[in-house]
Structures are given as C-alpha cells and as structure tokens.
C-alpha cells in the first residue's frame, strides 16, 4: 500500500541567516513559477508552495519521502542560485509533521516575524499560495494547510492585541499625536531640517490628513524640494520662530550642534496660540530642542530616546500578546493533525464500514419492530442479507483505495470519500 504524503518545510529566515545569505537565496516573483514548475516534475514532490520575502525563503512540500525530498531541495537551491551548498546549508531549518504545520501557522500569524505582529506577512503568504494554486502545485493537503493558516492568522489578529501598538519611531510619533490632539486632521506640521526618519514621520502625519505642512531648511532649495513632496510650503530657516504660533506639531531633525529652539523662544507663543497644545518631536542627535521646553503648560517635547522607549514598551506588549497567539496556534495544530491522520486509507475504510454498520443496525431495528410475525429464523436471514449487502458494496471502493499507483492523488480520493460519506467529526470539517 502506498504511504500517505508528509508535510515538510525547508527554509531559512532572519533568525537563522544574515542578510547576505538571505539575499543569495531570495527568489523574485518571476522566479516563483519556474521554481514551482521544476519542483512539480520531481518524483519526490507531491505538492509545493514557495515563500520568498526579504526575511525568509521557504519551501513547503508534501512528500512521501522526507529525507530524499530535503536533499533534493538543497541541491535545487544550490543549482538554481548557482551557489555552493555549504554557503547556506548551515542556516537551513527543516521541520516535518506537526512542527511544519506549527511553523506555517506561526509565520502566517506573524509570530515568526522580525517585527512580531507586522501585518504584511499574511498578504505575502496569500500571494505565494495564489501563485502555487495557479501553477497547480497545491493538492488536498497543502490547500487545507494554507486555508487553515489564513484562518489561524485572522484569529490571532482579532483575538489578541498583537498588531495594536506602534513599533516604529515615526508611527510612535503619530500615535502620541493622536493622544494629544485626538484627530490629526487639519493640524499644522512644521518640519525643521531633513532626514529619512523625520520625513517618514511627516508622511505618516500627512496620511492622517495633517495639513498644512511647513518645511524649514538651512538651504532653501532643499526645503522647497521636500515641501513639494508633501504639497507643503517652504519657509526660511529664520522664520521658524514665527511659525511656532501656527504649527501644532513640530518635527526637528537638523545637524546643528546646538539647540534650534530654546525655552526663551516660547515667550508669548502660548498666549498667541490661545493655549492650543503644541507637540515637539526632536529626532536630531545632538538634540535640537531644549528639554526644558517640556515644562511649559500644554507643550510636549519628545526626543528620540523618549520615542524609542515608547516603542520598547509596545514591543513588550506585543510579546505578551504573542504568547496568547501561540496558544491559538497550538490549538489549530492539534485540529489539523486530527484531520491529517484521517487522510490515511485504513482509518477511512474503517470509518466507512462503521458508518454503514450503524445505518444497518438502525434500519434492522426499525424493520423488526414492525415485523412482529417474523420468526427467529426469518430475522437471522434478513440480518445476513444486510451484512452481505454492505460487504459487496464496500468491496470495490476498498480495493480501489488499497490499490498501488495513483501517487499523489491518494489523499484527494480519501478526502473525497470522507466528504461524500460525511465521515469527519463535526468540529473538523472544512469551514
């Protein structure tokens, strides 16, 4: 009798491999169908899905011979990427059975991500699955596994707070702004200086409909350039103090060796602002904004360390939530295993027999209850008749299932029979 396929994951991620190794093995979206097609030809591979993101390269395979399949995949990586095996072999991990299932669930739920809880990974996994589907490299097992991983990921996201807290500096600034102003819509932003992080923060604010945007730069032309990007206005560097009266959020990121804004600059500013709150974000090192300014009523100063601390707390918070996510994953793994074990031929035949026997017993009971005139002998004859009827009916399907041959289709047939005769436990059915 042919063995059922097993699930195995071969891959590397940000934890096991540095970026030099990851980029060497990374597959582009053009590579993806080629990889899948090559894999399909392989006798050891029944089903396959390829994941390749900037943090991970993984092949998810259903195979009847795990060790041969693993060797084959390693050779394939080396061959396809034209790189020696030893350059990446150390970083590879191999999971099979429950561990492979758990791994896929964790990846989809973003529990295995560099930034735990980041939402992009699920979309990337879905794309990979779509690619595999359109190349027809997914069968019963991986289809089921992938769909399960989507629902696990969704459950983790909705039932835990894994994605709730900001974990990037620019986003932390937005989150704080919201705690001060409620809505950021219509809040004036003043950007002093330039820099990737500062501009990213402004971008976040703009997406939250903060406007107008003012940009002050030592070189006015550079200021114009940045202002154009955000559809804002460039102002002269000397004008910064005048704009403190209008701006609600100030982001400072200059290379100046001294403070750009000192407490003295705020004389009369708050009165002119009618005490509207002012949020100052200092991303520069050395700092641009004198910390003393934080003591002015309704003015809030956050420097880069303050923002980093805020993120640190959020990361802790996510970790706590991730632990709850792991529990949901454990649950899903057990459920999947229950379904997967039933994919074997023998339990399916047994379940089928049991089901028919159950029906037979029930019907016999019903019939005998109304057949009061029948003798013991008659009853025995009817009983025999039904038994042999079932035997005859089951003969061909049993033979068919036990047959050698139809390689990767076996799981499919088993699955179909289980569905046709409704053999799965109620809580284990396809949602």
């Amino acid at each position: 009798m042919v063995e059922k396929s097993e699930i195995v994951v071969i891959g590397l991620n940000h934890q096991t491999a540095p970026v030099e190794v990851r980029e060497r093995l990374a597959f582009s979206s053009e590579d993806n169908p080629k990889v899948l097609q090559t894999m399909r030809q392989n006798p050891y591979v029944d089903e396959v899905v390829l994941f390749s993101t900037c943090n991970r390269v993984e092949l998810l395979v259903a195979t009847k011979d795990i060790s041969k399949a693993v060797e084959m995949v390693k050779d394939f990586f080396a061959d396809f990427k034209k790189t020696p095996r030893q350059s990446f072999e150390q970083a590879l991990y191999v999971y099979d059975g429950d561990e492979a299932v758990r791994h896929i669930f964790r990846v989809a739920a973003s529990l295995d991500s560099m930034v735990v809880g980041e939402p992009q990974i699920l979309g990337q996994i879905k794309e990979s699955y779509q690619e595999a589907s359109s190349n027809r490299t997914c069968g019963v097992i991986l289809n089921r596994l992938m769909h399960r991983s989507f629902s696990v990921a969704k459950r983790v996201r909705t039932e835990t707070g894994i994605g709730d807290h900001a974990v990037s500096i620019s986003y932390a600034a937005v989150e704080l702004g919201r705690k001060i102003f409620g809505q950021l819509e219509g809040k004036a932003v003043l950007l002093i200086g330039a820099g990737e992080m500062a501009e990213l923060a402004v971008e976040h604010l703009v997406t939250n409909r903060a406007r107008p945007i003012f940009v002050a730069n030592r070189t006015f032309e550079r200021g114009l350039e940045i202002a154009e990007k955000f559809k804002g206005t460039a102002i002269r560097f000397e004008e910064v103090h005048d704009y403190l009266k209008q701006a609600d959020i100030v982001i400072s990121s200059t290379g100046a060796p001294h403070y750009i804004l000192v407490r003295g600059d705020f004389k009369g500013v708050m009165r002119a602002r009618k005490n509207r709150p002012l949020f100052l974000i200092d991303i520069a090192v050395p700092r641009d904004i004198e910390p003393e300014i934080n003591r002015i009523t309704n003015v809030y100063v956050y420097d880069i360390d303050d923002l980093k601390n805020a993120i640190q707390e959020n990361i802790e918070e996510r970790r706590k939530e991730a632990r709850r996510g792991e529990r949901l994953v454990d649950e899903a793994v057990v459920q999947f295993r229950r379904w997967f074990e039933c994919l074997d031929v023998v339990p399916t035949i047994v379940a089928l027999r049991e089901k028919l026997e159950e029906i037979r017993q029930a019907e016999i009971k019903k019939t005998f209850a109304s057949l009061t005139s029948a003798s013991e002998e008659d009853r025995a004859a009817v009983d025999r008749l039904t038994v042999s009827l079932i035997k005859k009916i089951l003969h061909d399907p049993t033979l068919f299932l036990k047959q050698r041959g139809h390689k990767d289709k076996k799981s499919l047939y088993v699955d179909i029979i289980r569905r046709l005769f409704d053999l799965d436990e109620p809580n284990n059915r396809e949602p």
């Binding site: 705690k179 005490n275 509207r276 309704n298 956050y302």
Partner: protein, 262 residues
C-alpha cells in the same frame, strides 16, 4: 417601590463592576453589558422618582437624602446624554460608582418629616434645588473628566506610558468634554442661585443674606464664571482649565454640604 429602589442600587453596583472589568480587560462585550446595566439602573431610578411624584405629588428634593438620591439620577442622566457625543467609555467606571454611592448613602440617611410648604413657595424651592442638582451633576462629570485629563496629561508629559495612557482617550476629547459640562452646568448653577434668591425673598423677605451658604455659593459661581470667561476669551484649555474645574467642584461640594449640615 422599595423593590425598584433595590433594583436601582443593584444595577448601579453591577454596572460599576462591569465598567471596571472593561477598563481592566478591554473587552467590548463587557462594556456593552455594563452600559445596559447602567441604562436599566437609570430607568428604574426614574421609575422611583415618577412613582413618588404620582403617589404624593412630591419631587424628591427635600432634605439631604432626597437630594442625594436625585443627584445620583442626574449624574447618570448627564453621563448618558454626553455618551451620545463623546463615547468616553472609561468614564463609566467613575460615574457608575458615584451614582451607586449617592443612592446607597441616600438610602441609609434618616428620612426627616417633610414640611409642607405653601404651593407657590414649594414650587420655587423645587425649581431652585432641581436646577442646582442638574448643575451639580454636570460639574461632577466635569470634575471626573478633569481628573482623567490630569492623569493622561501627566502620562504624556512624564513620558510614562502605562496602564492609563493606553486606556484613556486623547487630551483633546477630555478637554472638550469638560468644556461641554461647563457650558451645560453654568446656566443651571446661575438659574439655581437666582431661583434660590427669589425663594429667599418669599420666605425671609430678602433676596440675599450674607450667610455662609450664600457666600460660598457666590464664590462657586465666580470660579466657574471666571473659568468660562477664560476659556471663551483667552482660550484657556488643557491643564489649567482641568485644575480650575476640579477646584470649582470641590468648593461646590463644600457649599452643598454646608447647606444641609451647616
């Protein structure tokens, strides 16, 4: 009626627990249950007041126990109205216990015999205390919101983001909620003082006597008038406004007890 009374207390206590559960665990269904319980408490509370009115034609604003009882009702009422606009879920955790407390204290206090005033006088008196109770309820909410504001403001200022930072809303929302309470409460307070003066004229023959009660009522009014003026004219907001609201309410409570105990 005593059954309805007990139901009111039970609902308020259960609702308090629910709101606290919501603050702790941040589960929306818990909030919904707490909110429904508060509504139920409010309805049965209203029922008690209506029954009393139809039975003895009497609005419960006599004596400390009745005033507290009606005050609890007004606080919940003002809160429920404000929820329509502000959805400040956390506030329920303070309002529900306050309502429960005032109703429980009211039920413990001895019930003095009701003096029956001539109709016209009692009408002014009812109006006087009724408006003051509504005003006090609005200021009580403003006071609670002010405290929440100071907590949240301190969290942001000191960069200590913890339990409260996450659960409390933005400073802006807390500030405008406090402002709304002030705008609702101030006319009530003013009306209450004016009707009080008219009532005094009827009973004592003069509008204003310089007793403790009148002096403190005057101070309270001035504090809130100043706050309202600063808010409108200078744009006072945030921390200072919150502190002043809290101070104003403390004086108000003092005046309130001075009236009944002094």
């Amino acid at each position: 009626m005593s059954l309805l009374f007990a139901l009111t207390i039970a609902c308020y206590i259960a609702s308090s627990l629910g709101y606290h559960g919501y603050v702790l665990f941040q589960k929306r269904p818990v909030y919904r249950v707490a909110s429904i319980l508060l509504w139920m408490g409010f309805l049965s509370h209203t029922g008690v007041i209506l029954l009393q009115y139809f039975e003895v034609r009497h609005i419960p604003v006599q004596g400390l126990h009745e005033t507290l009882f009606t005050f609890g009702w007004a606080v919940v009422g003002v809160f429920l109205i404000l929820q329509i606009k502000f959805h400040l879920m956390v506030l329920g955790a303070l309002v529900a216990p306050l309502a429960a407390l005032s109703v429980i204290i009211a039920s413990i206090l001895p019930i003095p015999p009701v003096e029956v005033d001539p109709l016209l006088k009692s009408l002014w008196r009812t109006f006087h205390i009724g408006t003051l109770i509504l005003g006090n309820a609005a200021f009580a909410i403003a006071f609670l919101v002010g405290i929440l504001y100071l907590i949240q403001e301190k969290a942001i200022k000191d960069k200590k983001r913890g339990f409260f930072f996450r659960r409390l809303p933005s400073l802006k929302l807390l500030d405008s909620m406090g402002y709304s309470c002030l705008i609702a409460g101030f006319p009530m307070l003013t009306l209450g003082i004016i009707t009080g003066a008219i009532y005094a004229q009827m009973v004592l023959g003069r509008f204003w006597s310089w007793g403790h009660k009148e002096i403190f009522a005057g101070i309270t009014w001035l504090v809130f008038a100043a706050l309202l003026h600063e808010r409108l004219a200078v744009g006072w907001q945030g921390r200072r406004a919150a502190i002043m609201t809290i101070v104003g309410f403390v004086i108000l409570v003092f005046t309130f007890f001075l009236r009944f105990l002094g």
